[in-house]
Amino acid sequence: MTPLVACVLTVALIALCLYAVFGGADFGGGVWDLLATGRRARAQREAITLAIGPVWEANHVWLIFTIVLLFTCFPPAFADLSIGLFVPLTIALVGIVLRGAAFVFRNYAAGAQGISLVWGAIFGGASVLAPLAFGLCVGGMATGRYAWSSPFAWCIAAFALTLCAQVAAVFLTMEVADAELVGDFRRRALLATLAVAAVGAVALIVAHATEPALFARLAAPRALVIVAVAMLLGAALGAALIGARYAVARILVAGEVVAILGAWFGAQTPYLIADRFTYMQAASGERVLTAFLIATGVGAIVLFPSLWLLFSVFKRAPAPKT
């Protein structure tokens, strides 16, 4: 692998991790909005809205950035997976379009209760649909034959959904001031952590039974180490939640997601899409990659201070009650 391709892959991995953690949390927020129950259902929804509102569009741009990176730096792979994953990608898009639109429609339809309720339900439903569909895409890619409706792909879909719900619940414990609400999200975070562990285990069993080649790659030392790290982080996260150490839990859950993506990356290397394109086979020419990295460097100089400003204004302390 040339240094240029390695640089581009590093950028890709960073962007994907940021999208998975922050974008995933926003989808997870929608999941908990759908599942809001009990006396405090309304308060839960309000907390979720306040947490997502200022940041979801910025978080969402990581996805667009990743897609642009893919079609600029690895155009044949982009074309190939656009054909092979046409159906799940289209479903993911339906989810993305409806989630974003429904979120603002619900919030700005004040006074029109019925319309607000309908869009609220669409917001929650779309927040479930998008991670499921992205999970199908990732699972399908990993099989090496775009088998996006295979049992393994469905396991990854369920895994992606539970992961989003887990990240969101953990983050939300830090977003609310009310002790009862903190308790609500703590219970949800613990529940989701158990679900992630269970679904992850099922996914490994299904991989062993139906995708021997994939399982062999996952069991290779390079990937196995990262899988083990992810499991340890998940266990530590459970402990942190039980001990109500939310700031620690927030870091652990982000680390867990990064480790899971790292395991996927480790298992696939040197393939960008298993058995179809290696990084080198799909990569654009040197000048294209260089131009992309220059653009990224210049962009990063304005991006990261701006992101810091955004998060420091809205994520410093639990939002005051309005």
Binding site: G53, P54, V55, E57, A58, H60, V61, I64, F65, I67, V68, L69, F71, T72, C73, P75, P76, F78, A79, D80, L81, S82, I83, G84, F86, V87, L89, T90, L93, V94, I96, V97, L98, G100, A101, F103, V104, F105, N107, Y108, A109, W119, S284, G285, R287, V288, A291, F292, A295, T296, V298, G299, V302, L303, S306, L307, L309, L310, V313, F314
Partner: protein, 417 residues
């Protein structure tokens, strides 16, 4: 893709223009402490929240559709035109970050600090539109690479990003966003005015929007002329289709309106100004202008819709200029009550601006057919082989109808609130 683009362009244009209006309104509030301007800025912020979100998600849809619908095009061109899209990604980041700060920061930032957060939104909105237009300029006149045995080699991304039409296209597209926003918002307030809402807020909203529209429209007509001259030189087939000029000739007439009869290479019932087209293309009424007969029959775009769209665009633009002049003559640019017929004209101007925006897009896209990238790849060779495209199209058409209707309902509610 066409549906998605036609849908997205409306929100993209408003995403470029609305922050400018909000910037002015909130700035006026800071300076005069007049509560009317504050209310106006708050209302426009709400409208922006809705429209920006729909613009963001429909834009995401487009970035995926590049691959989902045109995989062969992206296989060839992804690397070449990736640079402007990458830069656009960062511009969009800045837009999304600062719109978050702007929309949710009213209570968390100082008044001046809050006002400043809309500046990056306005700037990056215009810049991201410019980057995307650069990619479109490349499709019109691909450059920055060599062909060896049907394969693209020797790619120069920075050359490709600034394909020859980029200056005229970026200017024309950016101004189109301001024209559409100015007249679009003005018409919302004119309609409120017609329904009897004659508050200071409605008058102030109308005035700020019209100031933007009235400044942008004369500039836009100049920019349009520059674009047409460029096309006459460098995209003669598109130019000939726009003007329905079938035969290469000196003293070429300017053909306005009429029914294009492509099979017999003629236009029926059109108003023809002798030498007009030659004059527009080169400043000399005797000059020879290349007609459609100069291109191979396989390389011709559908003349009738391109000519019709071109006339609609120019006609709407001219009417908008007249409305702007009328408004300025009646008000001298101030927020004063105006006569009924001018209000009616202003109420219609939003629709005219929408027609001009969409027709202009039809001209540049349909005028390039049958090519997706002129001279390089035909649209029919670029389209996906994946099954299910029809179903996806139907689903997204329904979603967009639903979103468009909801947006309209919500924004109209804001306009009369």
């Amino acid at each position: 893709m066409g549906t998605s683009l036609a849908f997205h362009i409306v929100f993209a244009a408003l995403g470029v223009g609305l922050p400018v209006l909000a910037l002015v309104a909130e700035g006026l509030w800071l300076r005069t402490k007049d509560r009317t301007y504050y209310d106006l800025a708050r209302t426009w912020a709400k409208a922006m929240a809705i429209l920006f979100a729909v613009g963001a998600v429909s834009g995401t849809n487009l970035s995926f559709e590049l691959g989902l619908l045109w995989p062969q095009f992206m296989r060839y061109a992804g690397g070449i035109i990736g640079l402007p899209f990458s830069l656009e990604g960062f511009a969009f980041f800045i837009e999304a970050i600062f719109i978050g700060l702007y929309l949710y920061g009213w209570e968390r930032l100082s008044p001046v600090g809050h006002w400043l957060t809309i500046v990056p939104v306005a700037v990056s909105g215009a810049v991201s539109a410019a980057f995307v237009t650069c990619a479109n300029a490349w499709m019109n006149l691909p450059t920055g690479f060599s062909l060896a045995g049907g394969r693209i080699v020797d790619v120069h991304p920075f050359v490709a990003m600034f394909a020859p039409p980029w200056q005229t296209e970026v200017l024309h597209t950016t101004l189109a966003a301001y024209v559409f926003t100015g007249f679009g918002v003005a018409s919302v307030y004119a309609l409120a005015f017609l329904r009897g809402k004659r508050t200071a807020k409605v008058l102030a909203g109308l005035r700020i929007a019209m100031l933007l529209g009235a400044v942008a429209i004369p500039l836009q007509i100049v920019a349009g002329d520059l674009s047409a001259r460029f096309d006459a030189q460098r995209e003669p087939v598109k130019f000939a289709a726009m003007e329905a000029l079938f035969h290469t000739q000196a003293w070429a007439p300017l053909t306005v309106g009429g029914i294009v009869d492509a099979a017999h290479r003629r236009t029926l019932g059109a108003l023809e100004i002798p030498g007009g087209l030659s004059f527009l293309a080169s400043g000399n009424p005797q000059a020879t202008v290349r007609g459609l007969d100069a291109a191979a029959p396989d390389d011709l775009p559908p003349v009738a819709p391109v000519h019709l769209a071109f006339d609609l665009m120019v006609g709407s633009g001219t009417l908008l200029l007249l409305v702007a002049l009328w408004w300025f003559a009646a008000t001298r640019g101030r927020a004063r009550p105006i006569g009924k017929w001018l209000v009616v004209a202003l109420g219609c101007s939003g629709l005219l601006a929408l027609v001009a925006l969409e027709a202009g897009w039809v001209v540049t896209e349909m005028g390039r057919q049958p090519w997706i990238a002129r001279g390089l790849l035909r649209t029919t060779d670029a389209v996906t082989i994946a099954p299910g495209v029809g179903a996806a199209f139907a689903v997204f058409s329904c979603i967009y109808l639903l979103l468009g209707a909801t947006c309209w309902w919500l924004v109209a509610r804001l306009g009369s609130a």
